[in-house]
């Protein structure tokens, strides 16, 4: 059961990743790209969590924690940059 479900879940997550990258490339404004980067971070965390669960490598969960932390800090920093406007 799980041998079938894991590749399907990973494939769906990869498709979501691709759609988000399309928005990241297309995004008409800078905040669109920031939102897309935020979602990309969450999707990577989900991917790592599924891999850790299916292979039993518990150390991968630590990597997921680190990526979640970095994603949050990056989003807040980008938001500060957007709010301050482009440098004159």
């Amino acid at each position: 059961m799980l041998e079938i479900a894991t590749p399907i879940a990973l494939a769906i997550l990869g498709l979501a990743f691709l759609l988000t990258v399309v928005r990241l490339v297309k995004g008409p404004t800078l905040p669109d790209r920031v939102v897309a980067m935020d979602l990309l971070g969450v999707l990577v965390v989900g991917f790592i969590v599924v891999l850790a669960g299916s292979t039993g490598v518990r150390a991968a969960l630590d990597a997921a924690i680190v990526i979640a932390l970095i994603g949050f800090v990056a989003t807040v920093a980008y938001a500060t940059y957007v709010e301050r406007g482009h440098p004159e």
């Binding site: 479900a5 399907i8 498709l15 979501a16 969450v42 599924v50 669960g53 969960l61």
Partner: protein, 120 residues
């Protein structure tokens, strides 16, 4: 039994994440895109984490996954709020079908009072 539950949770979580990405691609406006991506990504990640904990099945992975979940749940709302405020301040255009814009009345008037109220 737990394998079936894990499979269902993983498929559900990945489908929710796919819906979030689809909404991010299809929505007309920064603000609508943001609400789709943040809400659905927390629900999807919650399902994926629950499935991984069921599959690994020990206390250490429960603590790890619980801390990831708590962190994402807390920070997604904060970062969505920060991006929304920043993009409104940067005057990103709203969708042309937007009906209510409650900030616009206060934005024109008194900038000093507004920044005081937001400074908390």
């Amino acid at each position: 039994m737990s394998e079936i539950l894990t499979a269902i949770l993983w498929l559900l979580g990945s489908v929710v994440a796919l819906l979030a990405a689809l909404g991010l691609l299809r929505m007309p406006d920064v603000f609508t895109r943001m609400q789709v991506s943040t809400k659905a990504s927390t629900l999807g990640l919650g399902c994926l984490l629950a499935g991984a904990v069921l599959q690994l099945g020990d206390l250490a992975s429960l603590i790890h996954a619980g801390s990831i979940g708590a962190f994402i749940f807390l920070t997604t709302s904060v970062s969505a709020h920060v991006i929304a405020r920043a993009s409104y301040r940067a005057e990103v255009p709203l969708w042309e079908g937007t009906l209510v814009d409650e900030r616009r009345a206060t934005k024109r008037g008194m900038p000093g009072e507004q920044s005081e109220a937001e400074g908390k």
